[in-house]
């Protein structure tokens, strides 16, 4: 469709926990420089897609390619080493470690870059620089989300996966997080995020996927999806 090169693609993915299958043939791809967002009702399997990419759950069938390399059945540590970086929805910082220690842990797979990356992160998140010696558990929700994202960016990320980065945050913080996401993206990191706040998320995204019951329902550019009548009725309207 575009001339942009493809960073990651998920094709025909069937996956689930134990015996239960949750994803029934998902397809999605992320191109260089894009923000792609996945929305859908609760239980649609949005977060499960991210867990499948990370190798945290059983994959029955399908493929996940990162830079044309299949990463299905690769251990999580290796996947992260290859450049997929992930921020879970909740419980995403080590609460008893300081901010700086959190970031150092983020660099576990490439310790040689720790100092360089730390400087970059403090530039990107000046607030964190002031709090580097504070335990992450003592920070506010929005700041924790910043720590979590900075921690994820400590690896040489080819792509950043965000699981509901604004869940449970006040509107003020929500906007701040979305603008941070935009900044990270402008620095050259493609982002795949799962979101509940569909309208705002689609607003910053280049493209969006809508999942229902573990399968693709709609795909399109962010603007098109916001303006789509059916999408608006299903997901956006009820939220306003």
């Amino acid at each position: 469709m575009t001339s942009q090169s493809e960073i990651m693609s998920v094709s025909n993915l069937f996956a689930g926990y134990g015996e239960t299958e949750i994803l029934h043939g998902i397809n999605l791809n992320v191109n260089d420089g894009e923000i792609v967002c996945v929305i859908g009702p609760n239980g649609a399997g949005k977060s499960t897609v991210l867990k499948a990419i990370l190798g945290q759950i059983n994959i029955r069938d399908g493929s996940i390619n990162l830079a044309d390399q299949d990463i299905v059945n690769t251990p999580t540590t290796e996947i992260i080493k290859k450049g997929i970086s992930y921020v879970p929805q909740t419980n995403n910082v080590f609460v008893s470690l300081t901010v700086e220690e959190n970031l150092e842990m983020g660099a576990w797979v490439n310790p040689e870059y720790t100092q360089k990356k730390l400087r970059e992160m403090y530039e990107l998140f000046p607030d964190l620089s002031e709090k580097r010696k504070q335990p992450a558990g003592s920070l506010s929700g929005g700041q924790r989300q910043m720590v979590a994202m900075a921690k994820a960016l400590m690896v040489n990320a080819k792509i950043l996966l965000l699981d509901e980065p604004t869940a449970g945050l006040s509107p003020k913080y929500r906007s701040e997080i979305f603008s941070t996401i935009k900044t990270i993206n402008n620095n050259g990191v493609p982002i795949l995020m799962v979101e509940q706040n569909a309208k705002q998320a689609l607003g910053v995204s280049d493209r969006g996927y809508i999942l229902v019951d573990g399968a693709n329902r709609h795909t399109g550019s962010g603007i098109d999806l916001i303006n789509d009548k059916e999408v608006a009725r299903m997901f956006l309207g009820s939220r306003e």
Binding site: L54, T77, F94, S96, M105, W108, P111
Partner: protein
């Protein structure tokens, strides 16, 4: 004041309490680390301690045989530390690792079994009877006696106790350095915080688990050797006897809190020794026969009123 009360209290109750507390603290570190990082109560921990003491005794005897004199136990324990760590790592590899993704109770059962296997093995090799670890009466440390005597506060502390207290302080400082300054130490704290997040952060959790056995094994051997130095004998049931006070210390301090474990160990050690002090009247507060019940009573009270421990550890 010092003559009538202080001398007796400090030399016969406080210092022994401190020594016992140090030993429990070292043992409790291993328990609280496995509790924090592998999320189970390791019943075999006391047996690693006991094995360390038996190995050290063997190396002491070997030194006598080969060099004609006994090494200091703190020298003879060095090879034992390596062997004990190797045992801890292979136990993990063959008996605990298969249960990493199973319900916790499976690995608890496995450790329950290891407790018996290791103890039986020691009993087969060294026999079930008590063995004298270091002969002779422990004389008070002369320098400390003269020095404190010149302040009219004479301390009659045997050299072995000086070694135990100083040794524990050094190990604690090193341990603190490791947890706060080294990469693997920080990763241990991270895994203890949240194993799931550690995994998706890319931390090699298996490597952290191995480090845990290194630290836990080392501290266990030191606790076992210190215990043997203190009581001057070793026996195969010493690990089991210490298991309960060590668990009590770990829970008292707050699970997953290494420094809480140290604090808990000291509290339990003092409580056990001071329970025999004649606080009221002439007789001991508690008959010495019940000394080993003190740790347990503290444990139960703690579990009921403040299960998260003094330092607000994790409640499972």
């Amino acid at each position: 004041m010092w003559d009538s009360f202080g001398f007796e209290f400090v030399n016969y109750y406080f210092v022994p309490g401190l020594v016992l507390g140090c030993i429990y603290a070292l043992g409790a570190i291993g328990i609280t680390l496995t509790f924090g990082i592998l999320r189970f109560a390791n019943f075999a921990h006391g047996e690693i301690m006991m094995t360390g003491a038996f190995l050290t005794w063997t190396f002491l005897e070997l030194s006598k045989l080969i060099f004609g004199f006994y090494f200091h136990p703190l020298i003879a324990c060095i090879p034992s530390i390596f062997i004990a760590i190797a045992i801890a790592l292979s136990v993990d590899r063959f008996f605990y690792k298969p249960f990493r993704d199973s319900p916790t109770i499976m690995i608890v059962m496995a450790s329950f079994g290891m407790m018996l296997i290791i103890r039986s093995l020691v009993q087969v090799i060294w026999g079930p009877n008590q063995i004298t670890f270091v002969k002779g009466i422990a004389k008070p440390n002369g320098i400390l006696r003269d020095l404190s005597g010149s302040f009219d506060m004479m301390l009659l502390v045997p050299s072995k106790h000086v070694f135990i207290i100083l040794g524990t302080v050094i190990i604690m400082l090193a341990f603190n350095y490791m947890l706060t300054k080294t990469r693997i130490g920080k990763a241990m704290r991270a895994v203890s915080d949240s194993p799931d997040l550690a995994k998706v952060t890319g931390i090699d959790v298996e490597q952290v688990i191995r480090a845990t056995w290194y630290v836990g094994g080392f501290c266990a051997v030191m606790a076992g050797v210190f215990m043997a130095m203190d009581t001057q004998f070793i026996m195969s049931t010493m690990g089991f006897r210490m298991l309960l006070p060590m668990f009590a210390a770990a829970i008292l301090g707050g699970i997953g809190r290494p420094f809480g474990a140290v604090l808990g160990g000291l509290v339990i050690g003092f409580a056990e020794e001071l329970s025999a002090y004649p606080w009221f009247g002439n007789g001991p507060l508690l008959s010495p026969g019940y000394k080993s019940g003190v740790a347990f009573s503290i444990l139960v009270v703690m579990l009921i009123f403040r299960p998260s421990g003094i330092l607000k550890g994790r409640v499972f």
